[in-house]
């Protein structure tokens, strides 16, 4: 397919302390789309994001950006490629260097890709204007700005080198609901304007549903369900997704309360990692983690109940 921008295949990462953060994750981001990645904290979504950015080497599996495998690149070519692959970090208070003015933070990225000094200033003002800030804020330090403004600057910085993909790692999670909505609308507007693709990582299903074209649900280091946002919302197939959706208020869904805690990722249960909390678990679930299977056209779920048996209830 020609419109595939980023392809991750069978990514796995185990940390030195034995925590299997990510197991066998495959994701595809198409040009100009937003892929949401949702899951509880500790489910490996941020680790996946770091591997997609090439900031963390996977133990196995590969990341291919626009046809180029990241693993094979030398440092110089990887640096050049980074102009097209950017990040908006989670915490507005730490996403900008406290000792640099807003202008300097954005300038750093422009300079990294060799933009002339004379061209930088107008570009910075253009970027700030695009995210709803002014030249006044360009000379401010981070502590002089509000959380929403800080995240706008982080977005402007990510967009500085006209990237094709921006990984937003919990980019709005620390913001108030009203500010969240503003920033989400800003991201949607920027996408319409520039055709940038987003990988939007969040624990907040409502936020992800609002902005994403497709959504991947992660549990204990694996993708358990992958579907177009509207379809996932209307017809969730994996019991974990159902439980998540039922916890989102105002949906009129019957509340499914999961028992127990997230298992220790250093010592996961045998078979399906979700079976210890799953309301529909059976003996078959103890042997292996079911692979992602087609539940509907372009809708995959990793559950023994998905195919061919219809999920009860």
């Amino acid at each position: 397919m020609s419109d595939v921008l980023l392809q991750a295949e069978n990514l796995s990462k185990t940390f030195g302390n034995g925590v299997r953060a990510v197991s066998d994750v495959s994701l595809t981001v198409h040009k100009g789309e937003t892929l949401g990645v949702v899951g509880e904290s500790g489910c490996g979504k941020s680790t996946t994001g770091k591997m997609l950015l090439g900031l963390l080497a996977p133990d196995s599996g590969s990341v291919t950006f626009d046809g180029v495998p990241l693993a094979g690149l030398g440092r110089g070519r990887l640096r050049a490629l980074r102009a097209r692959l950017q990040v908006v970090p989670q915490n507005p208070q730490t996403s900008l260097n406290p000792r640099l003015r807003v202008r300097q933070s954005i300038e750093f990225n422009l300079r990294a890709h060799g933009m002339e000094r004379a061209a930088r200033r107008p570009r910075i003002l253009e970027l700030l204007e695009r995210v709803g800030l002014t030249a006044v804020q360009a000379e401010r330090y981070p502590h002089e700005l509000s959380g929403g403004q800080l995240q706008r600057v982080a977005i402007a910085r990510a967009l500085a080198t006209s990237p094709d993909l921006v990984v937003c790692d919990e980019a709005v999670s620390a913001l108030d609901k009203s500010v969240q909505a503003q920033v989400l609308n800003l991201l949607a507007g920027l996408q319409a304007e520039t055709g940038v693709a987003f990988l939007f990582i969040s624990h907040d299903l409502a936020v992800v549903e609002h902005i994403s074209d497709r959504v991947a649900v992660m549990y204990l280091g694996r993708v358990v369900e992958l579907a177009p946002a509207s379809q996932l919302w209307a017809d969730p197939r994996h019991p974990y997704t159902r439980a998540l959706l039922s916890a989102t208020p105002g949906q009129g869904r019957e509340r499914i309360v999961l028992s127990g805690d997230l298992p220790n990722p250093a010592d996961p249960p045998s078979g399906c990692g979700f079976r210890t909390r799953c309301p529909v678990a059976e003996t078959a679930c103890q042997t292996e983690w079911p692979p992602l299977a087609e539940a509907a056209p372009s809708h995959q779920a990793a559950c023994v109940h998905v195919s061919p048996v219809a999920v009860p209830g």
Binding site: Q86, P89, N91, Q93, T94, S95, F108, A154, T161
Partner: protein, 292 residues
């Protein structure tokens, strides 16, 4: 009435404002004045006093307050004030140059170690730890003795022993930063490692290093005076505070306060730089700039 005025002057809460005014304390301001006076004395003082080396053995050990010799004369009849003022130059140089060297080299090593992987970091920091095996003064004496006496060798010895503590400060600060979001964004930006070190890390590491080094100047003055006292620094008859203490102690029974004069100068300079360092800490707001 009061309540009304207070309500009217509530701060603007739309931005995260800094509650703390950046202002130096009174003691730090006083220390800054003393430091400026010391620097001015070193620059222009020698023009105002007489020859610090010319002695007149007929007027040995005159007490302070004698006409023509405000602080009296030393054992060879030389004017103590002239020697004290002239000695400011070398004492200050011996305080500043080693610290300047240690600040540059120590910051470079510390930042490099902090940004390196596990093995690079260990290699640099464990090597510097060797210096901690000996008391700093003893090490300075050993190095100065090995190199031979003289001002430049004393300065080299001091520079070497001051590098490890500065490197530690820089490395600790760098490692505090490496996992922060903006450093990840900097790595993801595609900038080179040196650009990240210079433009992202250094602005954060510089303030604590400057604060630390300001206090080190006082220490360096004391150490260099110590080396001169032991005969490992300046050679006579050039005036320097440590050397003067050494010379004056010979007359501790006949003129007990003579040795106290240069010793007091060392004390004042050392305390002034230390207090100034504390003041800079508040002024530069070292620590707590990230209030997440």
């Amino acid at each position: 009435m009061t309540a009304l005025t207070e309500a009217a002057s509530l701060p603007d809460t739309t931005t995260i404002s800094k509650p703390r005014r950046r202002r130096m304390t009174a003691s730090a301001t006083a220390a800054a004045v003393v430091v400026v006076l010391i620097v001015l004395t070193a620059l222009f003082g020698p023009l105002l006093v007489g020859d610090p080396v010319a002695g007149d053995t007929a007027h040995r050990l005159l007490p302070a307050g004698t006409a023509g010799h405000v602080l009296g004369t030393d054992g060879q009849g030389r004017d103590v004030l002239a020697r004290l003022v002239d000695g400011t130059r070398l004492s200050l140089l011996a305080g500043l140059i080693p610290v300047l060297f240690a600040a540059i080299v120590g910051t470079g090593l510390g930042v490099t170690a902090g940004l390196s992987g596990k093995w690079g970091q260990r290699l640099i920091m464990r090597t510097l730890d060797v210096f901690y095996a000996f008391p700093a003064v003893l090490l300075a004496i050993a190095i100065a003795a090995a190199l031979g006496s003289g001002l430049s060798n004393a300065i080299i010895a001091l520079a070497v022993i001051l590098v490890p503590p500065v490197a530690r400060v820089a490395e600790t600060e760098t490692r505090r930063l490496v996992d922060l979001d903006y450093m990840e964004a900097a790595r993801a930006s595609g900038a080179s490692r040196s650009a990240i070190a210079l433009r992202q890390v250094l602005p954060n590491v510089a303030p604590p290093v400057v604060v630390y080094c300001t206090a080190l100047i006082g220490l360096s003055i004391v150490y260099s005076a110590g080396l001169s006292f032991l005969g490992l620094g300046i050679s006579p008859p050039t005036p320097e505070w440590g050397l003067m203490v050494s010379e004056h102690t010979q007359y501790i029974y006949s003129a007990p306060f003579l040795a106290a004069i240069p010793a007091l100068a060392i004390l004042v300079a050392s305390v002034a730089f230390n207090v100034l360092g504390d003041g800079l800490r508040d002024l530069l707001d070292v620590r707590g700039e990230v209030r997440a």
